[in-house]
């Protein structure tokens, strides 16, 4: 044996064991700092919201007393109870629509021989990245009863007297919200459909069950937890959606909780405390649903993936595959192509009355909403370009750093802190943006960050960093902890390991998460609308401003600009994240 290969003088320069300092390490200090920041950011607004909801504004509008009057008003107010019912109708309705489209499309793409299904999938997912508010504007121009393009054509070519469709009501909101949130359900379902161990179905077939029976008794029950999870997320997101009802139904008499919170909390006779109370009510509903989903449904997800790279069973539809194909294309038409096309057409007209005038096409709407250097530019719109890009870029970056550290702590350290953080990361998902924004507003209204971009950014990060965290966590769970440990064993410190091993390994997850947050921040409306002031408008606030105070063509022009940027981001996202990133 060659003893000389052992480092002979190893003990000479050997480090001496330090005193028991396991409590003060790079790791534990970072963990503590981040826990405190995250805890404060998430908990503070919620506590302030609860406290504010019990403050009652006197008739003078200056002094407050403590009491339950705000809660009483939830029931006695002329509009609020109706808005409450409308919110529930919209949530239920759009959940049904989104689940129908989401599940059927996922099944077609994952389990049938529908032609070009691999190519169609990215287009099925596009609405997930676009702004539902812009979708509502588009559908308003497609199918409002008087000037909607489809209705004008129906009168002209089909000879229909009044109108074919009318989206200016609750059902319009249900429709637009439903098709825009269908990809959410799709993403919850498609993974388990696509990677289900085929022998689960094969065994039903060999046992004697036919195709239909196998689908009903095996396939569907196995993906049911995914469907339910997706449906609950849609329900909650729809309840918190502000832009769609604001555009389509509120002006026509169908208020929702969100439009009511907005009109009570913002404006000259604003009553933040009543807004806070309404937010409490909306938040309570959403949190309850998310609790049910996290507690009872998510853990029931069946492990149908056995680790081997299976090809799923693909059903030969025969000639019906063209029906499936047509259905798929139809969805893409109503959810993506028609809305964008319509926005584009409208945006080229100086005024819009439901008719296309090819000889009057103009780019003036783009100039007024985008060219900030021109004198005729509308500041409320052009401000949004800089503000949104700043918010999206800096916000996404901060959120991802936070996500990285939080994920690392959740998955690589054990104990109470990790579990607490995990919980804190779920909380913001349970609260609609507008609720969280109310919390942030009442918390920070008397601090210097009020009326700056920073308060909006704070709202964005608090609400959405769990999305980034999830993106990183899924990658982190897939890579073995031993990869980190072997770096420690090789002699690298915690921080060096993070820098040289962990972060490079997580790079795809970090970048995918960053782009996702960038997209979300770029189109965000319901937080911005509560927290913006003159000068801190975002892109979506600009669209809101134009829709509210200017004309349709200007609104459509800025909408198209926002949509184009988002589409570019989607392409980038797919490049870096790959096809499986979202469905993982």
């Amino acid at each position: 044996m060659s003893v000389q290969t052992i480092p002979g003088a190893a003990a000479a320069d050997a480090p001496q064991s330090s005193r028991w300092r396991s409590l003060v390490t790079q790791e534990s200090v970072s963990t503590l700092v981040v826990s405190v920041i995250v805890g404060a950011a998430v908990i503070l607004p919620l506590i302030t919201l609860v406290v504010s909801s019990f403050k009652v504004l006197d008739s003078g509008g200056f002094d407050t007393t403590w009491g339950f009057d705000n809660y009483k008003r939830l029931f006695t107010d002329r509009i609020i109870p109706k808005a409450f019912v409308n919110t529930l109708i919209i949530s239920f309705g759009s959940t049904v629509v989104a689940t129908f489209f989401g599940v059927s499309l996922a099944w077609i793409n994952a389990r049938t021989n529908c032609p070009w299904r691999e190519r169609l999938e990215p287009y099925n997912l596009i609405p997930f990245f676009l702004s539902p508010f812009v979708g509502a504007i588009a559908w308003h121009n497609l199918a409002s009863s008087k000037t909607g393009l489809l209705n004008v054509w129906a009168r002209e070519y089909l000879g229909i007297e009044t109108h074919l469709l009318n989206v200016n009501n609750l059902w319009g909101v249900v429709w637009v919200t439903g098709i825009f949130f269908a990809p959410l359900v799709y993403l919850f379902v498609v993974g388990s459909l696509r990677r289900m161990d085929p022998s689960l179905e094969d065994s039903a077939r060999t046992t004697g069950a036919g195709l239909f029976r196998t689908t009903m008794t095996v396939t569907l029950p196995l993906v049911m937890p995914g469907i339910l999870s997706g449906a609950i997320i849609v329900f909650v997101t729809a309840a918190g959606e502000f832009g769609v009802p604001f555009k389509l139904s509120a002006p026509y008499g169908w208020e929702t909780l969100t439009t009511q919170i907005f009109s009570k909390a913002v404006g000259d006779d604003a009553n933040h405390y009543l807004g806070a109370t309404m937010s409490m009510a909306l938040g309570a509903i959403c949190a309850a649903f998310i609790y049910v989903q996290q507690r009872y449904i998510a853990p029931r997800s069946f492990t149908t993936v056995t680790g081997k790279g299976f090809r799923p069973n693909v059903l030969d539809l025969g000639p019906w595959k063209w029906v499936a194909f047509g259905y798929n294309i139809a969805f893409i038409m109503v959810a993506v192509v028609m809305p964008i096309l319509c926005l584009f057409i409208v945006s080229l007209h100086p005024v819009w009355e439901g008719r296309i005038f090819l000889n009057e096409l103009t780019t003036i709407n783009y100039e007024k909403t985008l060219f900030w250097w021109q004198s005729g530019a509308i500041k409320a719109a052009t401000n949004g370009i800089y503000n949104s890009f700043f918010l999206a870029f800096v916000g996404a970056s901060i959120a991802m750093v936070l996500s990285l550290v939080v994920s690392h702590m959740i998955h690589r350290t054990k104990g109470f802190g990790a579990r607490l953080l995990d919980f804190l990361c779920v909380v913001p998902i349970g609260f609609p943006g507008i609720v969280l924004a109310m919390g942030v507003l009442v918390t920070y209204i008397q601090t210097p960050i009020y009326a700056t971009l920073w308060i909006i950014m704070l709202g964005y990060i608090t609400r959405f960093f769990p999305y980034g965290q999830r993106n990183i966590s899924s990658v982190m769970l897939a890579i073995s902890e031993e990869l980190d440990q072997s770096s420690r064993m090789a002699g690298a410190s915690w921080f060096t390991t993070l820098r040289r091993i962990t972060i490079p390994l997580l790079k795809p997850g970090i970048f995918a998460g960053w782009v996702l947050l960038f997209i979300i921040f770029l189109r965000e409306l319901s937080i911005s609308i509560i927290l913006y002031t003159s000068g801190t408008e975002t892109l979506s606030v600009g669209v809101y401003y134009l829709a509210n105070f200017e004309n349709e063509p200007l609104t459509c022009a800025l909408s198209i600009a926002q949509t184009v940027v988002l589409l570019i981001c989607i392409i980038v996202f797919r490049r870096v994240a790959g096809r499986e990133a979202l469905t993982a």
């Binding site: 044996m1 003990a11 330090s18 396991s22 031993e482 770096s487 064993m489 040289r500 390994l505």
Partner: protein
Amino acid sequence: MVNANDNRYVEVQGLVKWFGNDRAVDDISFSIPRGKFLTLLGPSGCGKTTTLMSIAGLHTIDAGSIRVGGVVYTSKAEGLFLPPEKRDIGMVFQSYAIWPHMTVAQNVAYPLEIRKVARAEIDERVAAVLRLVGLADMADKLATQLSGGQQQRTALARAIVSKPRLLLFDEPLSNLDLKLREQMRVELKRIQHEVGITSIYVTHDQAEALVMSDEIIVMSKGRIQQKGGPHQIYARPVNAYVSNFIGVANLLKGRVVEVTAPGRGAVEIEEGGRSIRLPCRLADGIGPGADAVVSIRPENVRARRENGDGRALEGEVIQAIFLGNCVDCRVRWGEYEWKVLAHPRDRLREGEKVYLRLDPEHTLAVLP
């Protein structure tokens, strides 16, 4: 500089580790001479991996101390804890833990870079160690392009490149398929022998332990059952647990009735109303009158069709499973079923009457 005694190069004293209310490692002490290969062997949950992780410093310990080559790694009593990166250990994990964003050469160079070795020397040492593990032509491959066996070799190269004080192996072969595993056992042992780094190897696979180790520690429920060389552990287990865990054994309860010479005597066993006296060897700590378990390996039981001297045990073959090079038989004797390994050419048939002969040399009375 005087190192610790080479015979006690690694010294673990009174190691205790709790997980919640569970005493995962329960007061373990052992030492390893410099350059030797020690295996911690036991079923899952026996505390072998926890012991390894304690030595690696990947978690703290609740009592005891660990010293390697004169350096205190951790000592609860003195309140000392050396973080893992300062322990100068090479470790090979079950999942290999090859960093997928680096090439083979980059993976192997990493420990040297951390130690701030000069670039030229790094290149030289990486090339040398890759030759040693047989991956010289794979240096620029990404880890993801490697097969399981090649990842394993890369992990080994990375662990030994910095010539650490100690090598730790956490079930490194368990993800490989059977044929490759058998081949890698021999290979791994050869490389360890060549570099001469003291090694601790954790496995639940007794064949692996027998093939590779200089010494084996058999563990169960956080405690050491036996420590010894492979042949000693296999041929002279100290108790029924070790006897059954290493290989297969016929175990019969009995009582020592006679001690004829040091380490030799006879055991009386009761079976189906009969009482039989078996001459045997006695394990340490077994005296006259003591309750004992008789352990006889299936390959040491001879099944014949004739009784010979009339002292054989008469039984009936109730199962004969053909395994190719041998036949795994069950022979019913009273209520007891003997496991007997017979030669295929004996052509034992189910239902046949046979006589079992036991060799006193290979009949061992051990602690229950």
